[in-house]
């Protein structure tokens, strides 16, 4: 099994037989030219680099299970009389869409399983995209040259949510119909053109006969095609830019250290596909999702307590719930701010902020360099704080979207909850920002202490005069390097407002604003130690020969709590 007994593949029996067809292909496609660059392409390894992969593989699972579902699903709103296996509905009038969904669930073997896998994979697809995006955000991986890929990612997230909503609406059960009714109200609330959009989208008055066939087209053709295109672009850019990596010994901004595509990365990524598929299949086997038979067919005069959208629309739903009831009439028109602002404005704001952020940050920091090393969240306290504030904002909206369930499960008043969320959506993000930034700065200080004073060994020494002190020992140099391999803080000089003759400089005001924002961005952050400080600390720590007890050869640095790690 060792390499010395290895026979090159072209010399094996299989290789000799395959040589002809492979040569034939290369004669026509020139595959070797592409393969040469990519087969042994290096990818760095870290668990957080695999979040996007979860989304990618969920998407593949969605394509596979979705194709299965299309064999039986009928996207029609024509009324039929149900005559399937589910007894409580026998003889009931319902749309073909709902009847065929029941047919898939009860009369096609494995149909319920595929429906459940499809729904779980959809919820995971959007969830993994969001988790992946948070990882990118908090490590600064969207910085130059990856801004375009960030924008593609924002587009994928938005499309994924629309795709999910379209799928949620297709079965035409009471829950999905209630969701469509909400969307109808949302579309109507769009100023000036609301009624026109409503009539064009629904083919007349709600619910009409067209919306499910149209959503079906969008769900299985239009949006998946757009998603596929954007995913391809996302991956190509990933390959072109090469993956970012964490800083560490030997890992610089100019190289990438990791395992080659063939065989290790291909095996791990390919294996992960099977893991994601298997995992969603097990969820489909064990955990019930969207039991459409429980809700009954859509009827505009019926509703169920606990009507909710799927989780990724919960944020919007929550904003709609906590919005004050503003509506005004002017210019002869009705303006439904109570629906339009939270419903259209909420997600609009979220995606606008996401799309603009890399450019805003670049404007604030003035950083024009390429970045291939990730930044630890603590080393960008303001960005991390803003990120957590954004998550809190999203989280409050999300929780508000389930306020009725929270009220019944925890015996709270739904009115009190609504009031708390109304205030909390503004207050909690601010608190979260302040706390997070403080924590980041505290962690930076802890890192600095570890460099300058060594790590805490846990050995308590008693001095001759009776006082106690904990012995510190220097960190291994690889660890010291890891903790200091980030940018030094820039000097923050106030920009000159006037030139030497006292004439106001052009852009003086913009520069002033920028300076102020910049000071806020870097406020409180701890710079890494200077060379002189470290040299001084080295002298001081040199007296100590490592850990006073015994470090051993296996010593691998220390954990966050200062405990030496060894294997």
């Amino acid at each position: 099994m060792s390499t010395d007994t290895y026979t090159p593949v072209e010399d094996t029996g299989f290789g000799k037989k395959a040589a002809g067809p492979v040569g034939w292909l290369d004669d026509r496609l020139g595959l070797a030219g592409v393969a040469k660059k990519n087969l042994r392409k290096v990818f760095p390894e870290h668990w957080s680099f695999m979040l996007g992969e979860i989304a990618l593989w969920s998407f593949v699972v969605l394509l596979l299970t979705g194709v299965f579902l299309t064999f039986w699903f009928q996207p029609s709103m024509s009324e039929v009389v149900y005559d399937g296996s589910y007894a409580p509905f026998r003889g009931l009038e319902m749309s073909q869409a709902y009847a065929s969904t029941l047919h898939i669930s009860f009369d096609i073997r494995g149909g319920l399983l595929m429906r459940q896998i499809h729904h779980w994979a959809a919820a995971l697809f959007v969830g993994a995209m969001l988790a992946h995006m948070l990882r990118i955000f908090f490590t600064g991986a969207y910085r130059k040259p990856r801004e375009i890929n960030w924008l593609i990612g924002v587009g994928l997230l938005a499309l994924g949510m629309v795709e999910g909503f379209a799928g949620y609406s297709l079965p035409d059960d009471l829950l999905s119909g209630t969701g469509l009714r909400f969307v109808d109200g949302l579309i109507r609330s769009i100023p000036l053109v609301g009624s026109y959009l409503e009539f064009f989208i629904f083919g007349g008055e709600f619910p009409g006969e067209e919306i499910i066939p149209r959503l079906y087209m969008a769900h299985i053709l239009l949006i998946p095609a757009l998603l596929l295109g954007l995913i391809a672009a996302h991956m190509l850019l990933l390959v072109y830019h090469k993956h970012t990596q964490w800083p560490g010994a030997g890992r610089t901004n100019d190289n990438v250290v990791g395992y080659p595509m063939l065989p290790v990365y291909a095996a791990k990524a390919g294996g992960f596909f099977f893991v994601v598929f298997g995992f969603t299949a097990l969820m489909g086997a064990l955990v019930q999702i969207n039991p459409v038979w429980a809700y009954g067919p859509y009827n505009p005069s019926e509703v169920t307590a606990g009507s909710q959208p799927d989780w990724y629309m919960g944020f919007s739903e929550g904003l709609v719930r906590i919005m004050p009831n503003w509506e005004s009439t002017f210019l002869g028109h009705t303006w439904s701010w109570n629906v339009f602002i939270p419903g259209v404005g909420g997600l609009g704001l979220l995606f606008t902020v996401l799309a603009l952020w890399p450019f805003v940050e670049r404007w604030v920091t003035g950083d024009q360099r390429e970045h291939h090393l990730l930044e630890r969240p603590r080393n960008a306290p303001t960005r991390t704080g803003l990120g957590v504030a954004g998550m809190t904002f999203y989280g409050v909206g999300w929780a508000a979207g389930g306020n009725d369930i929270i009220a019944t499960q925890f015996h709270l008043s739904i009115n009190a909850l609504t009031h708390i969320f109304r205030i909390g959506i503004f207050l909690f993000p601010v608190i979260a920002f302040i706390i997070t930034r403080r924590i980041c700065i505290g962690l930076q200080r802890a890192d600095q202490n570890k460099i300058l004073h060594g790590y805490e060994t846990g050995v308590i020494e008693r001095s001759p005069d009776g006082s106690y002190a904990e012995r510190h020992a220097p960190l291994p140099v690889t660890e010291q390097y890891r903790l200091t391999a980030h940018d030094r803080l820039p000097a923050l000089e106030a920009p000159a407002e006037t030139d030497e003759n006292g004439v106001a400089l052009p852009h003086g005001r913009v520069a002033k604003v920028r300076h102020r924002v910049r000071s806020f961005y870097y406020k409180g952050a701890i710079d890494k130690p200077t060379l002189a400080e470290v040299e001084h600390a080295d002298e001081h720590l040199a007296e100590i020969e490592g850990h006073p007890v015994h470090l051993g050869e296996d010593f691998q640095g220390v954990s966050e709590t200062g405990i030496p790690k060894s294997h």
Partner: protein, 355 residues
Amino acid sequence: MSDEIQSHDSSSTPVRTEPVQDPGLQPHQWRPTDVDPAQERRAERQISGMFTVAALLFVLFAVSYFAIDSDQTFLNWSASNFALGATLGGGLLLIGVGIIQWAKKLMGDHEMVEMRHPARSSAEDREAVMADINAGLQESGVGRRPLIRNSLFLSVGALAVPSVVLLRDLGPLPHGQDETVWKKGMRVVNDVSGLPIRPEEIEVGQLINAEPAVFFPAEGEEEAEVHGHELLAAKSKAAIIVVRMRPEDITPSEGRENWGIDGILCYSKICTHVGCPISLWEQQTHHLLCPCHQSTFDLADNGKVIFGPAHRPLPQLPLGVDSEGYIIAMSDFPEIVAPSYPELARDQKRLDGES
């Protein structure tokens, strides 16, 4: 911008500025499976074991597919769903874990280093491309023949016309939404059963989910006047609730004093916020809650909004009694039902003008 951070100049002599020097890649450490043949064989057996079990599970999948009836249960779940999912999922998971384990334990794990290149193209490439573009533009004469160029832009821009016009038939133009199927004299009937209602049948504290009589077949008829998707569209505006309160609890606003029958009032069932049907009526507080976004209306006080995101009060339908003693509507809704839309103010004005 003087304070711009300049990009690294790699050619300058290295001056030590960093507090800690990069110690470089650390020497490779071997895995137990690299140095211990026993461990290696164990990993090999373990991995091939996973693949074999996965194959067996897929066979079991086929067995469950044919052997388990759709109505059999297991732990009160569908046995078929469970067996199919567990075998398929288990098998896939084992394949995945096996492949990854193979990569982790047995495949070479020497870290490799690849150098990066800047994302931008080289200066020569940029120059060459600019030269090509200029050559092309010059030969095309785009700059020299503005007439051709601009008329081309015009024609391509005009392509928007057919593209937009083609979409016109997506739906009819909005025609105002101030009418429902209710009209004077139409009976209020119980939803589902379609039976007409007499005032004396209704107790104080009673809630009736009701509909206009046209949604149900008239006597001797097979099919209702309104049916199919037209029924759904009509229902999403005309559905109502009828409630009875003690007359002394009700505070009708001016002009509404005779809209009820001895404490029996009728309101639209469609929320004025985004259109959920609402019937969560609290008989003691007379409050009506929407389960979708918690808008709360006071039915004893003309359907006024007392909480939540809805703005307009719930429209009320004036009631009367016909010659046979059954409850009827005295007109269509005097206010616009269902969620607001831009032309609502205009349509409401028209309604007010009619009455």
